[in-house]
């Protein structure tokens, strides 16, 4: 039998072919090209001859052993296999999974900061969520969880600044925590805050009610942060934010993420910030550092677009920041992930709820009526889903030639609906913003670390 034929499960002789999801990556730091199958995850160094064969989809250069090896790795597949179907099957499974009912709840639109790039207090709205709306929301979550047979409940408190209305936040967390205990369900709470109002008592309360992670934003060293994250009275917020992070680092009660939003105006100072908070500075290395790339693409922050990084730079910028953060003692395990959906918000059981009980899919669009998917009524029901819901939920990268034919698709998931909408006016375009470069760079991070570990193992074996 020629090497490019095999027996498939139906016991018929089938022709073989290269997977459509084989990525060849050449990087100057490696002597050989990297072969990464984005569907299976298998990653190899290959010689130029094989790299060229993969790129040309020419199986003739492979010997029998090579064929078998790469077939086991998903790099070569039966010709009868349709990988689009594999992707769609897995995507559907995840989209309609009842594993978790997850919501982000805006406790308030009000914020004590006036960040230069932020959409909060949209249209001057400072509404808090009151107990009446909170009760409707709680009934919605509890009923939906039961009706959908979900095994877990997740809630993220957001805003505005959620600590401005934290009593309602405690109420929501406590109610959901008790509901989950009574029904033997998993529960996860988290909060996104600017940290300036945080106290030890608040941290203790959050933990008591099941909140196990907090995200706080830092945008650079003091002068940079203070020029971007400004309080309502015009002063900076750096000192208060740092105090909050020190407190969290000291208490060690709650997982802490330091979010650093990066654009052209603060990139250089971000390295100085990492020096300041890293192992040789304040040593906040129990926290995770997450870099956010500022995109001036929402209606409210479009005038900031000129300060944003050029898409082609994003991979290199992130790679450099990840490496530097690691050197400063922060923990990183960056690697490409298998993603059949780009983001959890493509799941049926994921919603964002604003203070008046309006429902959206993504928080980036919260408060913009054109993106509203519904409203929680006085019976605690999302009784009417707008056409937007169905439009969002039916976004399908397989219907989009650019995504369907993209080798990165299984490790990207088809891109962000918000980016898609802001660029094209529909949720159905590719929604890709630096994704390929980010994936390339995260693959290199993974390879670097794997080589490093192997060297360590070899060294230990020798000793």
């Amino acid at each position: 039998m020629p090497p490019h034929y095999s027996i498939c499960l139906q016991k018929t002789v089938n022709k073989m072919k290269f997977s459509k999801f084989n990525l060849i990556l050449r990087d100057e730091k490696y002597e050989q090209p990297v072969l990464f199958n984005t569907l299976s995850g298998s990653t190899f160094f290959v010689d130029e001859k094989i790299a060229a064969a993969v790129e040309k989809r020419d199986l003739s250069v492979l010997d029998e052993m090579g064929m078998e090896y790469l077939t086991r790795a998903g790099v070569i597949i039966d010709d009868c296999m349709n990988e689009d179907n594999i992707f769609t099957y897995n995507r559907d499974n995840i989209k309609y999974s009842s594993e978790v009912f997850s919501t982000t709840v805006f406790l308030t639109w009000a914020c004590n900061l006036r960040c230069v790039y932020c959409f909060q207090e949209r249209n001057g709205n400072v509404q808090h969520m009151d107990k009446r709306i909170a009760d409707r929301y709680l009934k919605f979550v509890k009923d939906s969880t039961v009706n959908k047979g979900c095994k877990n409940v997740a809630v993220t408190l957001f805003g505005g600044e959620p600590l401005l209305n934290i009593e309602v936040g405690y109420y929501i967390l406590e109610e959901l925590q008790n509901f989950c205990k009574e029904n033997e369900l998993g529960f996860e709470g988290s909060i996104i805050s600017n940290g300036t109002l945080l106290t030890e008592e608040i941290v203790q309360n959050l933990v008591k009610y099941g909140c196990n992670s907090i995200q706080i934003t830092l945008d650079g060293v003091k002068e940079v942060h203070d020029s971007r994250r400004i309080t309502a009275n015009g002063s900076g917020s750096f000192d208060e934010t740092i105090e909050a992070l020190k407190l969290l680092n000291k208490l060690r009660m709650i997982g802490t993420v330091i979010r650093i939003n990066v654009d052209k105006t603060n990139l250089d100072s971000t390295y100085n910030l990492l020096d300041y908070i890293g192992k040789n500075g304040l040593n906040l290395t129990r926290c995770y550092v997450d870099f956010g790339i500022v995109k001036g693409d929402t209606q409210a922050c479009a005038n900031y677009a000129g300060n944003c990084l050029v898409e082609s730079e994003i991979g290199d910028v992130l790679y450099s920041l990840w490496k530097y953060a690691e050197e400063q003692g922060f923990r990183y395990n960056i690697a490409p992930a298998r993603r059949f959906i780009y983001c959890g918000l493509y799941k049926e059981n994921n919603y964002t709820i604003t203070p008046n009980g309006d429902v959206y899919k993504c928080w980036e669009h919260a408060g913009e009526p054109v993106h509203r998917v519904g409203h929680i009524d006085n019976r605690g029901m999302l009784s009417y889903k707008t056409p937007v819901f169905y439009d969002w939920m039916t976004a399908d990268p397989m219907k989009n030639d650019e995504c369907r034919n993209c080798v990165y698709l299984p490790t990207c998931g088809g891109g962000c609906g918000v980016i898609s909408y802001n660029e094209t006016g529909t949720y159905h375009a590719k929604g890709c913003y630096g994704e390929k470069e980010k994936i390339n760079r995260s693959l290199i991070m993974f390879i670097d670390k794997t080589i490093e570990r192997q060297k360590q193992v070899d060294k230990e074996l020798k000793e």
Binding site: Q32, L35, G41, S42, T43, F44, F45, D47, K49, I50, D63, M65, G66, Y69, L70, I94, V100, S102, T103, T104, N152, A154, V155, T156, G186, E188, S190, N212, S213, Q215, R252, I254, G255, T256, V257, R286, Y288, D290, F291, G292, R331, Y332, N333, I334, A335, P336, A337, R338, I341, Y342, C343, G344, N350, T352, G413, C416, K438, S442, F446, I447
Partner: protein, 58 residues
Amino acid sequence: MGITFIGNPYEYGTLAKQHCGVNNCTDFNCGDFSCTSHHCTGFTTSSTTSVEDSDDDW
């Protein structure tokens, strides 16, 4: 054949708990939730604690 297996990054996440960024989830099933759950595409409440994280005290 000039083929050298490096590894599989999709299995890597199960070995080490990692933050999956809010808008850039890099770990499909970390179950960690430091990422703020909303954007995480994976969800596991069971522990994903690894050898690396065994000394974690929060």
